[in-house]
Amino acid sequence: MSSHREAPEISKDPVADSSDLYAFVSPDDPDTVTIIANYVPLQLPASGPNFFEFGDDVLYEIHIDANGDARPDITYQFRFSTELRNNKTFLYNTGQIESLDSENWNRRQFYSVTKVDSHGKSTVLAKKLQCPPCNVGKISIPDYEKLAEDAVVKLKSGEKVFAGQRADAFFVDLGSIFDLGTLRPFQDKHLVGQALFNYAGKAVNATDETNVHSIAIQIPLSMVRRDGKKRVKAEDSGAVIGVWTSASRRQVQVRNGEGTADDVYVGPQVQVSRLGNPLFNEVIVPMAEKDKFNALAPSEDKKFAEFVATPELGALLPVLYPGLFDNLAAQNKKKEDRADLLAILLTGIPSGLIDGFQNNTGKVQADMLRLNTAIAPSKTEKKFGLLDGDLAGFPNGRRIADDVVSISIRAIAGVTLPLVDKDFEPDAAAALVEQGLSIKDASAKLLKKFPFLGTPFDGFSVPS
């Protein structure tokens, strides 16, 4: 998956597990950037009586680097607190929830937003903002969309925020991919699969009908650009920002055994989860290094550059699909660093390689989602993004409908290598290989406006 349960330790701590990060120039307000960080992945909609929520003991952060040093120039911090209205009931709601202040809604979650500048100065932008409830079902919540809309808040400082449950729009054929790298549309070409199948399979979206908890923020572009300009050109280095999200926990927790109210949390925040580019920690970083990756800052990512330069998946593809990736196999034998992947994932793509495009942040190698904010949203999005000439798509930031799994596989298979090596001819299969899914395989429809992710699946309609 993009980053759902991608490392051994965080897979045991879903409340702090960042599963997807999106950053794109907002189609509903092109003078802003929308950043969405998803947590608490793989929620089954029917999850009463204790529905999912953010961790009151987790510090959630969205970081923006505006000058290419892989250190945050702006950090938005989100802290949550949960309140019970009624200590005498076991129920999440004791009647219908028709508004955010409904007396029938027993367990509510609130949050604060704090902005930290490049000097470490904190400013609390808002306190006690309300999350919408989880989508229990039509009986309990007759108009969920209205509640979610009411939970979108425009801050006095200029940002728009939302935090709460949403439908997970990430699409991936998880059961197939982690069964020895099988892509169902190519299962009959697979090293093992060719003995089992004589037909191409149809991909299955493993994350469909699951929910996540999203932290979404829409920020005026002039606030995130290094020079504060409202208008910049795509070739300007100041047009590019790097984005990542992280979750941290207090270093010490002491459980006193009489309910959480008496527990002790002290010490500095320790980062337990991090996400920039989708799939970076999942399929680039070896399992033995994944927990370390989650604990480090992007400025430390030089440590992981070797895994980008010679990706394990790049060596596996010619083995798993015999005869389809011979040019890639020959390239692998040269043992040359994959300069294309190093640029895409760790420094950004410099000017001169793709007409009218760059998202380079300089020499510091760091896993950040790099977005050229001067490139306007596409009128017609293409799911293969930059690989299909859609300059507003991944790896220029990441939109919700971008097929990041297939884009990443194609890039590793060699389609981006000619950007830096004109003599390399990608295998024909490299431009055709894909997982076989699109955003249409995610059942929840996306919204046309902030926070864009669709209405969460409700437990009554999706009971299992």
Partner: protein, 81 residues
């Protein structure tokens, strides 16, 4: 041994160092929303190396590493070791 006793023991002649461990962030943790380090707030001491007297002291948003063999020995005794 209560917390005030520990504080009293730890102020005399001990080396104190701020936290500098990868993954630990103090950025933005000084505002009013975060933990207090007042006298009545919790404090946790971890004996990292009893022989060297290396102790990690967690209070509020901070961690300080101190070296105090005498205090380490007293803590071990209090723990029945």
């Amino acid at each position: 041994m209560d917390r005030r006793t520990i504080l009293a023991l730890s102020v005399g002649g001990v080396a104190v160092a701020g936290a500098s461990v990868a993954g630990i962030s103090l950025a933005g943790e000084s505002d009013a929303e975060t933990l207090s380090s007042k006298d009545d707030s919790p404090l946790v001491i971890s004996v990292r190396d009893a022989k060297k007297g290396t102790l990690d002291v967690f209070s509020g948003n901070s961690k300080k590493t101190v070296t105090d063999k005498k205090l380490a020995a007293q803590l071990l005794k209090a723990a029945g070791r």
